[in-house]
């Protein structure tokens, strides 16, 4: 097989469908070097897969940038007050049970 034929074969080693399945591990740098080489060779001839990869990657980076709601101090105080009350109540109940059964 000539070098040119070998290159052409390598370029067709992956279809766009297979590329989509491999994107996840490609971005995590988890592909074997040979699969990664095929993947990148496909990218070099397929602008559709380059666009797909860029938009997939942009989706991930945008998702990562979403800010969570902060726990408002008032809510934090409310939750803590609720929990303290419950703990007190269960404490009182256990004390009652202990007194009842030892009496």
């Amino acid at each position: 097989m000539t070098k040119r034929e070998a290159t052409a074969k390598a370029l067709t080693n992956k279809s766009c469908r297979q590329m989509t399945d491999l994107v996840f591990d490609y971005l995590n740098d988890k592909l074997t070097p040979s699969v990664k080489r095929d993947f990148e060779q496909h990218l070099s001839i397929c602008p559709d897969c380059v666009s797909f990869l860029k938009t997939y990657k942009r989706t991930v980076t945008t998702t990562r940038s979403i800010q969570a709601e902060r726990l408002p101090p008032k809510v934090r105080e409310n939750i803590l007050a609720f929990l303290r009350k419950r703990i007190r109540r269960i404490g009182a109940y256990l004390t009652f049970l202990a007194t009842y059964f030892t009496a």
Binding site: C16, Q18, L22, E40, E69
Partner: protein
């Protein structure tokens, strides 16, 4: 579905070939994620705190509450998408922590146990409220011709135009809306991975899934989110 890296083989530099924009991205590593999570100063401190908690020590409980409630609130809020429900879920989670601390045997990290309680409480809340607005993923996933090529060509690269068309806050809102349409378990995977920076292994332990199931769910959810963004920008999802 995927092939894994053989460390012995030589690495291949994608950045040289295609620039940084499509090169593998550094995922927030497990250690980075752990560092960003609340922790007592040392493992010993945490072990001591947990022992005191198991003995019913209220100060230890409140220390744990103060350490973990902001982070767990963020996780629950992003899974639920509703602030009002979140308060209730966090209340329930910490009440469970107080009552069932003795059931924590230390087989997993304490934080993993807390995350598991939080995600389960949030998922339970969604199930009970029946507010979940799931959509069919299929419509927003990539499609291919018989020969394996993309069914709609050319695939438009909207990665750079996103910022031109929308303000940062609008983009986040678009994505938050799309996130709310994911299946709750998939949304939990995305939240723990892309927003909390947990490793696939940690997520698997938290959600009682296999690592492979975590990867599959995460990839599919990302494909769906990508499709939703594409449609929002006026392009084909596929």
């Amino acid at each position: 579905m995927l092939a894994y890296k053989n460390e012995a083989e030589r690495s291949y530099s994608s950045e040289k070939l295609y620039g940084t924009s499509i090169a593998p991205m550094s995922r927030r590593t497990s250690s980075t994620a752990i560092m960003s999570r609340p922790r007592p100063r040392t493992g010993q401190d945490e072990t001591f705190l947990i022992e005191r908690l198991k003995a019913g020590d209220q100060d230890a409980f409140e220390t744990i509450f103060n350490l973990y409630s902001p982070k767990l609130y963020g996780v629950a809020q992003r899974i639920l998408g509703e602030v009002a429900d979140t308060e209730e879920v966090i209340q329930d989670v910490f009440w469970t922590v107080y009552r069932k601390a003795k059931m924590f045997r230390g087989h997993s990290q304490f934080s993993t146990w807390l995350y598991r309680l939080t995600v389960n409480a949030a998922l339970g809340k969604i199930r009970r409220s029946k507010k979940n607005r799931e959509v069919e993923y299929e419509e927003f996933l990539p499609k291919f011709q018989n020969d394996g090529h993309h069914s709609v060509r050319p695939v438009v690269d909207w990665s750079d135009t996103l910022d031109e068309q929308y303000a940062k806050q609008e983009i986040q809102q678009l994505l938050a809306n799309a996130l709310n349409q994911l299946k709750p378990i998939d949304k939990s995977v995305v939240v723990l991975s892309d927003l909390e920076g947990m490793s696939d292994k940690e997520i698997a332990a938290t959600l009682s899934l296999t690592v492979s199931a975590v990867k599959t769910r995460l990839h599919r959810a990302r494909l769906f989110l990508r499709g939703k963004l594409a449609v929002q920008l006026g392009h084909s999802a596929v």
